[in-house]
Amino acid sequence: MGIYTAPSVGVGVTVMAIKAQSGERSTVGRANVAARLLAAIPANYLLTSLATAALARLLWRGLGVDPANASVAAMLTSFVMFSVLALVAFGVRSALRLWLWMIGAGAVLGAGLWLSLASGGRL
């Protein structure tokens, strides 16, 4: 998904971990954790669902895989997507950039899925 940029990874959570350990739990630190938790679980599920649905459409309509196998292949991939995205959510430096990336990806995937569903229906 391109969020994972090696040199800048992981600083944000570490900072908040150090803060939490030293007992200084600022509102900013808490908001940071909350933003990442929201990104890692509910938003992640939404995005992965969109990606799974879009992949199933792409495999079937775009690449000519039969619909049953396209659906199952997307389903199998979804768990990899979800777990990697969950790790990335805690690994990247900036929670804001994480959210922007996720919203952007969601918009692109959602638009693609919508177009695909509108142009050719379901079985």
């Binding site: 990874v9 971990a17 196998n69 292949a73 768990f79 379901r122």
Partner: protein, 520 residues
Amino acid sequence: MKDSLRQSMALFHTWSGLLLGWLLFAMFATGTAAYFQDEITRWMQPEVTGSADPETSAQGAVRYLNTVAPDAISWYITLPNGRSATTQVYWQPGDGTRGKRGETSAVLDQTGRAITVRETSGGFFLYRFHFDLHYMPVLWARYLVGIAAMFMLTAILSGIVTHKKIFADFFMLRFGKGQRSWLDAHNVTAVIALPFHLMITFTGLVTLASMYMPWGIAANYASPAVFQEQVFGREPAAERSGRAQPLVDLAPLMRTASAEWGGKQVGYISVTNPGDATARVLITRSPGAAIAARGETAAFAGATGKALGGHTATGAAVATESVMIGLHTGRFAQWGLRWLYFLSGIGGTIMVGSGLVLWTVKRRTRLPDPARPHFGFRLVERLNIAAIAGLATGIAVYFLANRLLPADLAQRADREIDSLFLAWLAVGLWGMVRPAGRAWTETLALAGACFAAVPVVNALTTSRGFAASIMSGDWLFVAFDLMMIALAACFLQAAGKVAQHRAKNASAPPRRAARKAVSQ
């Protein structure tokens, strides 16, 4: 910079592991036992002896169903395999009602007589518990279990990122070295069976994938039923014609189907509209006959026995899914591999359990006042006791109840299950009211004692005790007793270790010992 990634992953690993660790422990423990679910069931039905022939059993099941549910919408027959000796039947009543469990199902011997003595859910309960839980709607349970499995998957991945060194420290485990050895135990059980852990967690998610991630199917199909029909060849049942026509003998159909699959055994038979001219027989390959879990099917007209064509799901993704489910359930495994599965499962159980204990061990040293920990710490400590010692005691009591409850008790199978949870609850409560260190010793010892009691009670209440089983070469019963003794020894030893550790800590000044342990 690399270190900060590792640190954030470590944090993630700790909390994702802790949050659902208790549930994961129960899933791992009962799922591991489920690799021997047929053997456990046989042990819990000591009155059933010998083996059963699938063809004779199918004929017996049809005789039984013809008297009990001749006008059913459909019959489902699970045939005995090499490991089990009974037939499970289940039927959908003709009036469309959904009967209570136990009223629309039965366990039969190969002549088609219902087995009523010592009614039990056997190993099947442990298998179902590991993803359906109990006392709660199955749907909720499966979502909960799915969330736990997803946490497990992320915990494993973040664990790999965190502890890259564990691959280099591969041979560094040292037994019995106090707090360090908890970390060693966690790392080594994790690393040694890492392929197993990744496989079992991922494939576990795959078994219920269409529940957790239905959007891949929803994107291509307006109705999941169409997908089901394409992949599994399930057709909606035809209307009953009203013209009665007896069902043909199933044995020749089974032989035809088996020959079509290159000699692989039949596992399940379902009959829709039995006794009617529209009856349809669907024969499914045994999941034990190949790695892929979703067996080939062959359909026949129930009135004439004419083949209606079979169905084998095709395509790379569908086949991959089927193999993944097969890998998870391990039904194809012969004895050697089955034991490898079982031992790997025990490794996984220890990994989760030691990870849970590790959370408290690491934090105890950092507590402002180790003698008076804060609420969260106490909660985790108590839940660990309940989860680890409580479940172990519960399972042992489940086996004991099977031997001790009256053989003809009403709703006996449910009472056995209740006794498991009562024992679990009792140990949990005991852990709440006692000081944590002492509670560990006592509950672990109790679990050990309960496991040790199983062979004794078995010998006293049945004619298939340890000595008798050895004499008659009944290796299943011998192995069961030995396993109980091994488990008893492990839990008693653990109880002794904890007691020793406490005695040592009581004599040493706690603060200094603590500080030394944290500097790892």
